[in-house]
């Protein structure tokens, strides 16, 4: 049995689901960021797989993946900086205790 596009898509969907579950169930902001990273990885697998099977001559999928990785790095840096700032000001990084947006 050949490895086809669907195999990769299923793996990426599962990885995406795991990341989403992490985001929804964690209360630690850092853990939520980890979930986001997983979801981004799932997307990358998806994009590269499509590139391989749908348009192998072009490399646009690779470029997409590179851009996504770049933005993921940015997101991680800014997000973690925000976590630091929140921790300094509110002395907690549990998002269910941070309810300044309420009312």
């Amino acid at each position: 049995m050949q490895v086809g596009l669907n195999h990769y898509l299923v793996v990426s969907a599962l990885l995406f689901g795991l990341g989403l579950f992490g985001i929804l169930s964690r209360r630690n902001a850092v853990a939520i960021l980890m979930g986001i990273e997983l979801m981004l990885n799932a997307t990358n697998i998806n994009v590269v797989a499509f590139n391989r099977y749908v348009a192998p001559a072009a490399v646009s999928g690779h470029v997409f993946a590179l851009v996504i990785i770049t933005l993921a790095a940015c997101e991680a840096a800014v997000g973690l900086a925000l976590v630091m700032a929140v921790y300094r000001n509110l002395e907690t990084i549990h998002v269910d205790e941070i309810n300044l947006m309420k009312w």
Binding site: L9, G17, Y53, P56, H62, V63, A65, A73, A81
Partner: protein
């Protein structure tokens, strides 16, 4: 046949640590588990013939981001201890939602007739990516460099301790 075996192994290497990442109550362990998961994704990239992306993946994710996350976990020690509850009260609802969504995604993805093109990747992958970045995607390339700069400055400003 060898390709399938490699794919199955890599999928397991990717997904199992990911489960640890989202479920383990020890945050450090969760963060450490990110690394094998990222490496598994790297392997999938190699399998898909994207060597350059795989290299970048190792450098950025497995190297930089994982280390950054570990740093932050250490710096915010008050919220990461083992004794602290790590899950919130909507966990079951989250699991349900994530499950439904994943199931829905799988159904849709498998149900869609993708147009598979039989072709081969360019032989020199890195060269092709470089040319594409500086010709067709030069705008995206420049903008992402700008975004990098802005986020660098922004992260510094936000994380800096006030006087």
């Amino acid at each position: 046949m060898g390709e399938l075996a490699a794919f199955i192994i890599l999928a397991i290497v990717t997904l199992l640590p990911a489960v640890v990442v989202v479920t383990n109550r020890n945050l450090v362990r969760a963060a450490m588990s990110l690394i094998p998961s990222f490496l598994g994704v790297t392997g999938l990239f190699v399998l898909l013939g994207a060597e350059f992306v795989a290299g970048i993946q190792i450098l950025i994710y497995a190297g930089a981001i994982a280390v950054l996350i570990l740093f932050v976990i250490m710096l915010t020690e008050g919220g990461t201890g083992l004794a602290v509850r790590q899950v919130n009260e909507q966990r079951q609802w989250g699991a349900l939602t994530a499950g439904i969504l994943t199931a829905g995604l799988v159904v849709i993805l498998l149900g869609t007739p993708w147009q598979i093109t039989a072709g081969t990747l360019p032989r020199s992958n890195v060269e092709a990516v470089g040319i594409a970045l500086l010709t067709d995607f030069v705008l995206a390339f420049e903008i992402s460099s700008l975004v990098l700069l802005v986020s660098l400055v922004g992260a510094l400003v936000i994380a800096r301790r006030e006087q």
